[in-house]
């Protein structure tokens, strides 16, 4: 049997929880430094989990604290107690929740975002899908990046597909679709030109192979760009969603947090419908479908999880 070479990407700072500033201490601002005590941290953490499905374990306290400080500051509130009251009871609480989710997922768009998930995709999921598709005599597999933003995610998925082309070339076509609600961002994605920040996690050998340096920008090669097709889709529009049937792998990271429980349930059940049997769904690296769907089987890979449709 063909043995795929294992991809191991360099982790930035320690372990599975490779967040950009996870280990940073809260920085003082103004005259007095805000301190998030353990009890308030747990209350806010649980509230966020309840509202968004995104979980911050104790070791991510500083990450959350850093982001919350910015929110408290911009609303000119007096500390975390007031802020916690604000997001639950203020007239503008809905708007603030969106701001909060933006703050906690900021910097989430870059190539090779969350290496363990990309490793699980490249080393386990993709080879499994390819093997099964070949065994079933299928001619095509489909990978869908649902909320592809400026294209970093679908292009990352495409790079890895290209890297293991020995496994599928000649037998299958691999279709990669990136979808987003914003047509502006889709146009940007099609251009495939990125700044230093977006490409910071790309392993050097891939950087050399697939990017060209044009002044301040890094331009992705057509070889990879040609794998990806971009379409406009609003995830809560069930008619538009129905166009996406027959996916084998779906990435839908850090999107569901913005929906309330009812919409989330609807979207996830549609994602389930759109997956082929044996297909996988990836959500954000600290997101959860608990209480949203029981249809999938949760599968653990090395330092990440995914949901399988059986």
């Amino acid at each position: 049997m063909f043995q795929a070479s294992k991809f191991k990407f360099k982790m930035k700072k320690g372990g599975a929880s490779s967040s950009d500033d996870g280990a940073n201490k809260a920085k003082p601002f103004g005259k007095e430094k805000l301190v998030l005590d353990d009890k308030k941290f747990r209350e806010i953490r649980d509230y966020i989990y309840d509202k968004s499905g995104m979980y911050f374990n104790d070791s991510k306290k500083y990450l959350l604290e850093n982001r919350l400080v910015k929110r408290v500051e911009s609303l000119s509130l007096n500390g975390f107690d007031e802020y916690f009251y604000y997001i639950r009871y203020d007239q503008k609480k809905e708007k603030e929740l969106i701001e909060l989710f933006n703050a906690i997922t900021i910097n989430e768009t870059s190539f090779f975002r969350n290496e363990p998930q990309i490793e699980a995709y490249s080393n386990e999921v993709l080879p499994e899908i390819i093997r099964n598709a070949k065994a079933e005599g299928r001619k095509e597999i489909t990978i869908w990046s649902a909320a592809s933003s400026s294209g970093e995610e679908p292009y990352t998925l495409a790079i890895m597909v290209h890297e293991i082309q020995r496994m599928w070339k000649g037998a299958l076509t691999v279709k990669i679709v990136g979808s987003d609600i914003s047509t502006d961002i889709i146009d940007q994605a099609k251009e495939g030109a990125y700044n230093e920040y977006s490409v910071r996690n790309i392993p050097p050998e891939f950087m050399k192979k697939y990017f060209e340096n044009a002044g301040q920008k890094y331009v992705l090669s057509d070889l990879i760009k040609n794998y990806v097709e971009f379409v406009h889709i609003n995830l809560i529009d069930m008619n538009e969603m129905s166009k996406m049937k027959g996916a084998d792998i779906i990435f839908c990271r850090n999107v569901l947090i913005y929906f309330d429980t009812a919409s989330k349930t609807k979207v996830v059940s549609k994602l389930y419908d759109n997956l082929n049997r044996g297909g996988y769904l990836f959500i954000g690296h600290s997101e959860s479908l608990h209480g949203i769907s029981k249809a999938f089987r949760l599968v653990h890979f090395n330092k990440s999880i995914a949901y399988k449709k059986e």
Binding site: Y55, S59, R297, N302
Partner: protein
Amino acid sequence: MISLRSLVESKIPEIQNLATLPAIATEIMSLTESDRSSMKEISKIIEKDMTIASKILKISNSPLYGYQRKIDTIQKALVLLGIKEVYNIVVGISVYSTFVNLKNNSDFDRDAFWEHSSGCGRIAKVFAEGLGLKFDGSEFLSGLLHDMGKLILDQYFQREFSQILHKMKEDDISFFEAESELFDINHAEVGALLLERWNVPENVIYAVRYHHSPELAKNYREMTCIIHIANELDKIWGDVELNKPHSFSLTENTGWKILKESYPSLENFDIEKFTYELTQEITKAKEIITINKNG
């Protein structure tokens, strides 16, 4: 099949003299088990052992625990980290230091071994907490000791141990599968034979003996299942390199199925949340082993 069992059995008394659970661990355990222990008593015991005491302070002050003020006394550590956490660290350090000087078969990565053992213990702890089950710390001890048999084989039966490692690589199978094919005893049983002679709770012996086959445990089945699951979870989430599983699914696991029979409400267990909790335990386990090693 070669009979290794009788050889192991005859060697156990001798092994017992060389490797035994450190006094401080037994002492601490007996204190926390009986509810009358005060923080003062516990810190007194720990402070008697300078090496362990200084390591605890070092670990408590590591960024992992995130305390901004310096923790400079064992009492403070007990208050901030909690008795259970300090107890686990003491047991971990003392077991580690007992075995750290044993001879090493060159193919066997001891650092990885201890990271996995300590990771397994910590996962067992958060798992039991998540399920609302109380084992007074013996779930941590079981996790820590679950692969003790491998150390014994590596130390006293090197030829057989090498044969197992060789077969693992040759046939691309797990340690447990390889030893089960080669010999009439496995590392879980070897570990349990030694632990029977130690002063550890009976449930620890069961959990160690049946950690690969929880369905065979006649008693203490719940804890055995927890160790079985924690073992698999640490293999997939930790940095174990040798014979790493490709994937793991809790709901397909024998231990999980047994637990679900007794606790149907596990249907609603938040696996994701538990998973995100266990990642920090694995990081802690690794950090503690590093601090331990570097003194």
